[in-house]
Amino acid sequence: MDEKATNLLDVKELSIQFFLEEGTVHAVNNLSFSLKPGETIGIVGETGAGKTTTALGIMRLVQSPPGMIVSGSIEFEGQNLLDISEPEMRKVRGNKISMIFQDPMTSLNPVIPVIDQIAEVIMLHNEGTAKDAILKAEQMLEKVGIRIERAREYPHQFSGGMRQRVVIAIALACNPALLIADEPTSALDVTIQAQVLELMKDLKVEFNTSMIMITHDLGIVADICDKVAIMYAGNVVELADKYQLFRNPQHPYTIGLFNSIPDIKKDEETLKPIKGLMPDPTNLPSGCPFHPRCESAMPRCFEIVPQMVEVSQGHYVKCLRCTEGSAQNNKNEGGA
């Protein structure tokens, strides 16, 4: 009970489905995780694992129709976001929860000067005149490292990295309690990636913002996150403190992810991908959704859906092997 009170965000049993003519897409299935104030969680998974849908679900921006949040709850600051009205939700969006989208080349409006795009969100959620909003927007531009002389320029006059800085300025303009970053650096080249991540890290500390960092880059997780949720087929399959997860991954999928990172010290000829493909979300396999690709699958994995199990303090795994309390669990305490 006590722990619940201190959580900023508590996502419980969230399921999001898309109802298409071809069938129902089970994009997110019984997903749960929580986040404390100031904490950063990394959500990691392959393309199509449901990471973005989860983020849009929290913002209540899942395209509807065809998408729908079918069950679960999203408690934010003690209030279930799924219970409040749309106008109330609009007061949360951009104000208390902000989102940074993946592709900075397309996420800014091409026909509006960047300063107006920042000032717009400030005007919307704060009292004060348009002049105040522009002033605040200029401060935000400076914070993200863009000179004020460029404020009246349009998005096409900025590079990808600069545009993402503008997007970050928009997201942080109202000092949100929670920032959802959906692969904020995937579309940028590596040096710009590092700059943008550094900026986000600094601003996160400055504004004391909690963050959900969606990525498929474990390097970013190691750099910026406190804890990690590994997603597979719309499920969190492993949830742990960053150090625990990196030192002692438990779920076969997580282990596969780590194994697929090439080791620069060894002269490796071939990459080691996880064999097979993510299952079709309209037709998920029975039992554990990972069993068709799992090297250590047991006959029971075909039938029984594994439940989340706490294998050690704060380390949760959804795998039948771990449910049994296998010998591996004994090692993990020594690692930390």
Partner: protein
Amino acid sequence: MHKYILKRLVMMIPVLLGVSFIMFTLSYITPGDPAQIILGEGATQAMIDQVRLDLGLDDPFLVRFVSYVAGVAQLDFGMSWATQRPVSEEIFARFPHTMRLAGMGIALALSVGIPLGILSAIKQYSIFDMGANFISLLGVSIPNFWLGMMLILFFTVNLGWLPATGFATPIQYIMPTIAIASASAAVIMRMTRSSMLECIRQDYVRTARAKGLSERTVIFRHALKNALIPVTTTAGLSFGFLLGGAVLTETIFAIPGLGMFMVSALFTRDWPTAIGGVLLIALSFSFVNLMVDILYAFLDPRIRSQYQ
């Protein structure tokens, strides 16, 4: 921007030269002796020879063309062979009617087409959307002369509400404007719809929603501004076609416009009048295109920076 406009204005000169060259060639190769047509049946050979001499019809083609262009450069389009009055006078007496008809037509088309297009994009696949699509399909397929006749049949013959002819008082504007605007309204509506549908799926619209903006602000401030850019082109083209293609509507409603005048000029082989009219329409078409491009730059900063 000023430089660009100036450049575009200068570019109109070769366009107009080309148009007059084509028209002049057509007049040259069309069978029939203009002098004979001017004088009518029963003219003596001596009279015909005299007229041919006066009009310079025996001069070589290029000489005639150059002297015509030189005249046009001084706003002298020659004399009408049919009425023996200056072509410029004849044309400018009629052009305002055509301009007014086309202008009111495009205004009606825009004010019906854009709102309907936005609505049916926002409510895609709804009953309203299907209805609007059906009506726009009708609008494109119904020929405007038929629509004009049906309007006359219904509102003049049956109900007696509206006058069937003329274009002087507001009540006379109603039916010709509807008849001429229907096809353009349909095209503009469909263009707005598809452009809007594309825009509301864009990432920046999602960003706008993520800011917490109301749906109305998202649509009108963020999506519409982008969606109107391609609509501008369609509207400009429609306006050009209305200017040049109002002949049938003008004929049905007996509007003394340029279209009707030019058709009768062609029938009587009154070439100076026909060429002058075509030149004026080509000029207005070029102007409309220039306006569209300027509007484009106004709407889209990406294009604006290309002009600088």
